[in-house]
Amino acid sequence: MSQRVSVRLRVNGVEHELDVEPRLLLVHALRDELGLTGTHVGCDTSNCGACTVHLDGRAVKSCTVLAVQADEAEVTTIEGLGSPEDLHPVQEAFWEHHGLQCGYCTPGMIMAGADLLARNPDPSEQEVRHALEGNLCRCTGYHNIVKAILSAAETGRRGAIHEPAPSAVGRESAEELAEQGLGA
């Protein structure tokens, strides 16, 4: 597998040109090539959703996308959604409502939740539960995750939510993270 191809990705607002094996999964490009380790891997059958990112504004499982398929695409990862200093409302709501325990499913859950709210700003509990069907959590029993997303929706209806695109601060810290390179 020595043949390599060039891929251009825009990740959290930063341009990258990568030289990759054609079979490289997007999740490994993000984690191993760009050092963005916030996107996790929890399965090998596209069931768990720990690897969820936004590809051109829509949530995808990055273990199911080849890096080459994302050529010229805009990718937002958890690092770019918000930073500790400037949380996205879904991140804030996960903190407030204890929507995470071990935190491993959390980046994927938050990305899935943000995607849902971008499409449906006023979901019912059942709609939230169905939207999360592809994201598994073993710790929380989903109770507080659902609560967090419903609460973020409420925040959004009060006008405080922004599109799941990188905020200025998010972009900076994502750059920083990317600069730290492999294994950040």
């Binding site: 597998m1 020595s2 204890h98 939230v128 999360l132 710790c139 029993g141």
Partner: protein, 791 residues
């Protein structure tokens, strides 16, 4: 000396404080094992047996070795290990067959996934390709999968040398139980199957080993870094102080990471062999195949009562499928359950007989609840069966037999001493939230539409706070370790505090609850308390996180160390303000003199004196920190009452949990939000087992449910929101009165769900069902019942 500490005078303990842990985790800045990389790091992939039982005839690695970027292919003999993987349970007076268990098989494989060779190379993907180029010739041996089959004469033997598949026998309780049952008005017998499950944390395991100049550092996704260090030392023949084990952020454990795994020793041995850092990351398929499983017990439960519903005796004969090897605590798990097999009830006599069995499957060991979910399930399901037999309301049967709260500390028919309990209290609280009569009325209405609604209960007590060393240790139950916990509380010069705990939390939120406990006692904010754990290089010897022990044992060690710090702080204040140390008390964030609250010092001022020293008397020992070890006198016994309401679609067999109400009592709450979170997760885990999840091997020992496609972890769409409440009955074992809650939901929920499904289907004549209540099983039961009616 607890007391008011923040500006509005309220203690931090008891508040729903949001977690200190969260900011990095919600922004992708967590650091799990696979997020760590080192210069020169190589990746490992493991060649695993596709056979359930076979002799390894030959291993040809030549093709793999020729692949570009492959550094080595190693087999069992290459690793130069001094001892096999450990089993830490050696019960006194019990004969046990313990097979050698090596990180790479030596000559024979005993379950699918048993590792045979390791491939090490530069690239994550390339080592997997190379592993497929390792050609192993197997000579298949006969396979045994069913534990009861395995006990029959002439069954294929998993380990030839023992001449039997029996691992051990272990009993607890009275000899007269069968006589007591014989004298009883009513005796029922049920065969309760508690099927095999996977812990399935969402982060699979991962190990990164780095060996340089005689020092080994292993970063691993574990619940027990100190145990791993000790066993690495023994297996690698290294001195313990040259090994550092780090559990960084760990993405859930549920017991699946309470283990000394072969891959941990394997990566360390290979790193030493090649002088390069080595990382191995488990795939989900590997996790399902080789991370230890849980449950897998078949019990024959005989239960007796008088006509008017007084329990007389219970005799449980249990066959535990332990799999092919005995891992860290494999044979102990059913025993841990046995301790609470009498539940919340008074009995004349009780007895548990356990038989451990080898099969050609991966080992079972602790999975969330570890023995207690099985015990509670068999007991609570049989209680409902008995109630039906007696024509009594299942709650009435329970009420008639609860140990009354005045009787605590209560010695049970199995010889445990329960610290405290109020079983009528939690059940009464539960019924404030849910009215069974109303549910039954709804059920009547729904049945006309083909929906069968049922309600089920479980009232449980569990045993946690592992563990009092004298009871659980080598001379007692037989665990080859003390089971205390340690803490180091260090006040820095500025008055900020670092707490080192020997526990190793991985999602429970203990950084926050520990900080709340310390903040109140030192008159500071939890923000000023940094909690560290999971690194053998930073604090005293510790024992990790499992068995709902971290607060009731680890937290008590922190309290003890904090009290030592306070003693010294008082002496410093007394000296500076010319008062007696006994007169120094914490008021509104200051250590002040009783009777003259204006005279006092903050922790920061005290720390300044402790480290600058020149104001202190001659002979003063500088510094402000203390280490403490806490060994509990007894276990703690949380309890509660749960109710499930289910709808069964008899056309499809599909079961929906429409309401779930839980009242748990784990003593006074440190952080109620975290307790709720633990209960939610526990309930979901047990609903998963009751309805969806099942590890299934076919007759050839092939794993059928080896990925998340076929092993059905429940998603948000399958579960309802939960209703939770608490009562608070303090433990008499711990100074804070706290018990433990990490496993409670898992222990309580499966019988409530199964009882609810049976309740729903009783109008069809269905009296009893075993888990998992998959659509297929329920549908078949409904078909049979309807044919029975037609016939």
């Amino acid at each position: 000396m607890s007391g008011a500490s923040d500006s509005n005078g309220q203690p931090w303990v008891g508040r729903r404080l949001r977690r200190k842990e969260d900011p990095p985790l919600i922004t992708g800045r967590g650091r799990y094992t696979d997020d760590h990389s080192l210069p020169g790091m190589l990746f490992a992939a493991i060649v695993r047996s596709p056979e359930a039982h076979a002799r390894v005839v030959s291993i040809d690695a030549s093709a793999a070795k020729q692949r570009p970027g492959v550094h080595a292919v190693l087999t069992g003999e290459d690793l130069r290990l001094e001892s096999p993987l450990p089993c830490a349970w050696v019960p006194p007076g019990v004969e046990m067959n313990v097979p050698d268990h090596w990180p790479l098989a030596r000559g024979e494989v005993n379950h699918v996934g048993d590792p045979v060779a390791v491939v090490v190379g530069q690239d994550r993907y390339a080592v997997v390709d190379a592993a497929e180029d390792v050609f192993v010739e197997y000579d298949p041996l006969p396979v045994v999968v069913d534990p009861q089959e395995a006990l029959r004469d002439g069954a294929p033997l998993v380990h030839e040398q023992f001449g039997t598949n029996r691992v051990h026998r272990w009993s607890l309780g009275a000899d007269d139980v069968e006589q007591v049952l014989e004298r009883s008005d009513v005796v029922i017998e049920r065969r309760i199957v508690n099927h095999r499950t996977s812990g399935a944390p969402i982060e699979p395991r991962a190990v990164l080993a780095d060996y340089r100049s005689g020092e080994l550092t292993v970063t691993t996704s574990t619940q027990v870094p100190h145990f791993v260090r000790l066993f690495l030392a023994l297996m690698l023949g290294m001195s313990e102080e040259r090994i550092r084990v780090i559990a960084p952020d760990v993405g859930g454990g549920f017991g699946a990471k309470l283990q000394m795994y072969g891959e941990e020793a394997l990566c360390a041995a290979v790193a030493r062999h090649l002088n390069r850092p080595v990382k191995w990351v488990e795939t989900r398929s590997e996790h399902m195949m080789v991370s230890h499983h849980g449950r897998d017990q078949v019990a024959t439960v005989r239960m007796g009562a008088t006509r008017d519903g007084r329990l007389t005796g219970v005799h449980i004969q249990l066959v535990a499928d332990l799999g092919a090897y005995l891992m860290l605590l494999t044979p102990l798990i059913p025993t841990l359950g046995a301790f609470v097999m009498t539940g919340c009830y008074e009995w004349e006599s009780a007895r548990v007989d356990i038989t451990g069995v080898f099969t050609n499957k991966v080992a079972t060991d602790a999975i969330r609840g570890a023995g207690r979910p099985e015990a509670t399930h068999m007991l609570e399901v049989t209680m409902d069966q008995l109630a039906a037999e007696l024509g009594l309301d299942p709650l009435e049967l329970r009420r008639r037999n609860f140990i009354p709260k005045e009787r605590f500390p209560a010695e049970t028919a199995l010889g445990m001493v329960y610290d405290s309990g109020d079983y009528h209290g939690t059940l009464a609280r539960l019924l404030e939230h849910i009215d069974p009569a109303e549910v039954r009325r709804e059920a009547e209405g729904l049945r006309a539409r083909g929906v069968y609604r049922g309600i089920g209960f479980s009232t449980y007590t569990e045993i946690c706070g592992l563990a009092p060393s004298r009871i659980a240790g080598p001379a007692g139950v037989g665990v080859q370790a003390g089971l205390w916990e340690s803490a180091l509380v260090r006040v820095h010069v500025s008055g900020a505090v670092t707490v080192y705990s020997g526990t190793s939390p991985h999602g429970q939120g203990l950084d926050t609850s520990f900080a709340q406990i310390v903040a109140d006692r030192l008159g500071i904010s939890p923000q000023q308390v940094e909690v560290m754990h999971g690194d053998t290089a930073t604090g005293p010897q510790g024992l990790g996180t499992y068995g709902s022990r971290s607060l009731s044992v680890g937290g008590e060690a922190i309290v003890k160390a904090t009290e030592r710090v306070i003693d010294k702080a008082r002496r410093i204040v007394a000296h500076r303000l010319e008062a007696a140390p006994e007169d120094v008390e914490l008021r509104e964030g200051r250590f002040s003199i009783a009777g003259s609250p204006d005279r006092g010092m903050t922790l920061a001022e005290i720390a300044g004196e402790a480290y600058v020293v020149d104001n202190m008397p001659a002979g003063f020992e500088p510094g402000l920190e203390a280490t403490a070890f806490y060994d509990p006198e007894n276990f703690v016994f949380p309890f509660g009452a749960h109710a499930a309401v289910v709808d069964v679609d008899v056309e499809t067999g599909k079961v929906d949990v429409v309401r779930y109400v839980a009242v748990d009592d784990c003593g006074p709450a440190i952080n109620p939000m975290l307790i709720d979170g633990q209960v939610h997760g526990g309930i979901a885990h047990a609903i998963g087992q009751a309805l969806y999840e099942r590890i299934h091997y076919d007759d050839e020992g092939q794993l059928v449910t080896g990925t998340f496609v076929d092993y059905a972890l429940p998603s948000a769409a399958e579960l309802p929101s939960f209703e939770t409440d608490r009562t608070e009955t303090p433990s008499t074992t711990t100074s804070m009165g706290v018990k433990g809650v990490g496993e409670a939901g898992t222990i309580a929920a499966s019988p409530a769900v199964v009882n609810a499904v049976v309740d729903a289907l009783r109008p069809l004549g269905i009296e009893f069902l075993n888990m998992p209540l998959s659509p297929q099983r329920v549908w078949e039961a409904v078909q049979q019942a309807q044919e029975g009616v037609r016939a």
